[in-house]
Symmetry: none
Subunit: 224 residues, 2 copies
DNA sequence: CGCATGGTTCGATCCTCATCGAAGCATTCT
DNA sequence: AGAATGCTTCGATGAGGATCGAACCATGCG
């Protein structure tokens, strides 16, 4: 009987298994078509289409039409953050996994969260960036210092605040229980990591696997 | 058909309006009883009980039994964080608040919360009682000062701690996001307000409507 | 153009689950 | 002990919504 933001509406959108699978699939950051999502969710195409329009109505997805293809993607990093938070709770209370498989270990270490890096590597990186005063924690927000700006610029990592999207934002990690870096800077760093081939994205997974050499470089640049 | 943490299960728990209201009510951090939560959610006690056991099974709540009272609370800060994240998305996505009807405005102003007064009036009253040192905030608890005791006694408002029920307790308000006064003192004050006909309860609603004269008296006594 | 492919809409079916009254436990007060 | 209070369980009811096949649009290709 209370008012306020309709949290039940949003949560119930995520609360259907088919839709949850779709959203999970989109957490990789790449937009997918309705058929791909139908396959991913294990439902027929009409069913998937129905779910997708509900998610669109709910504002959780964006749609990019390209010819006869329609690519669905998560609406925002905020939505991604919410899903991460739900995953975290599900992970904490869920049926204790029998034994974490190798892919789980990789996911824990480094994975894609919408458009930026998450996992232990990402958490360690953010800690280090604070230590080196390249970033400044300001309550709930994160600010890029001038030292940080020139540092990243020197690395060839450029990021600017876009409409409604800050350069830096904290995003809670479900494996570690601490924050990692989101925002345009977080996205730019992930781009750099992939572009330089320090790591590659696992196929059909959110896991990010560093090459032996790439890990060394990454650690020297971000964790030193 | 990917596997992983059962996020749909968790999200669907939050996805029911009644449960969402309960969780929202618990976001204040104070544990509440099943009856209080039933009132907050606007459902019958059996229904509330059913929801609560589902939330317990899902691991979102903890239960502290104290005699015949059973206090439900959020299981962890992680759960609270998840709900905050969902609220964030809901606010970002649905700023289209419908025009609040007259009864909603009345509810916002003053309403019954279980057995005590809630709403803006109640929040203002509690603030004032602190200012006048009639009550003392002690961390999460509220204590009646000796000055307060004689003050309320002079007004003919008598309250004593009953079994397991404190004289004063903070209760989070959903319209304003701050605490109002619960406990036997809060109940006694509401009794006084009704007995003196300063206000009457709206039929079939939790709203409490002050008479013009009653409001003046109330403000002089509690808000001066 | 006609055909194939990717998506959506419609209609019917089915099933889960929210809801409440009544009855049943459990604990505490008198 | 008996009454009262707080809460849960049971049983019946009903509504919302997930699902899929078939039919229907839209775009691109030859």
């Amino acid at each position: 009987m209370r008012e306020g933001p309709d949290i039940a509406r949003i949560a119930s959108l995520v609360g259907d298994p088919a839709r949850a699978n779709m959203l999970n699939a989109l957490m990789g950051g790449t937009a997918l078509t309705a058929s791909e999502l139908a396959l991913e969710a294990g439902v027929s195409l009409p069913t998937a289409s129905s779910h997708l329009s509900k998610l669109m109505d709910g504002g959780l997805l964006t749609l990019a039409s390209q010819g006869r293809h329609r690519y669905y993607g998560l609406a925002s990093a905020q939505v991604a953050g919410m899903i991460e938070a739900i995953i975290g709770v599900a992970e904490a209370v869920g049926p204790k996994r029998v034994r974490p498989g190798p892919r789980d270990a990789a996911m824990r270490m480094a994975r894609v969260c919408y458009d930026h890096l998450a996992g232990e590597q990402a958490v360690a990186m953010l800690d280090r960036l604070f230590d080196r005063k390249l970033l400044l924690r300001e309550g709930n927000e994160i600010r890029l210092t001038s030292a940080g700006a020139s540092h990243f610029s020197a690395l060839g990592i450029e990021s600017q605040a876009k409409a409604r999207r800050p350069v830096c934002r904290a995003c809670l990690d479900w494996s570690v229980r601490r924050s990692h870096l989101a925002g345009t800077l977080g996205a730019a760093i992930l781009d750099k990591i992939i572009a330089e081939k320090w790591a590659r994205r696992e196929k059909d997974s959110r896991a990010v696997v560093f090459s032996p050499n790439g890990r060394q470089v990454f650690e020297r640049v971000f964790l030193s």
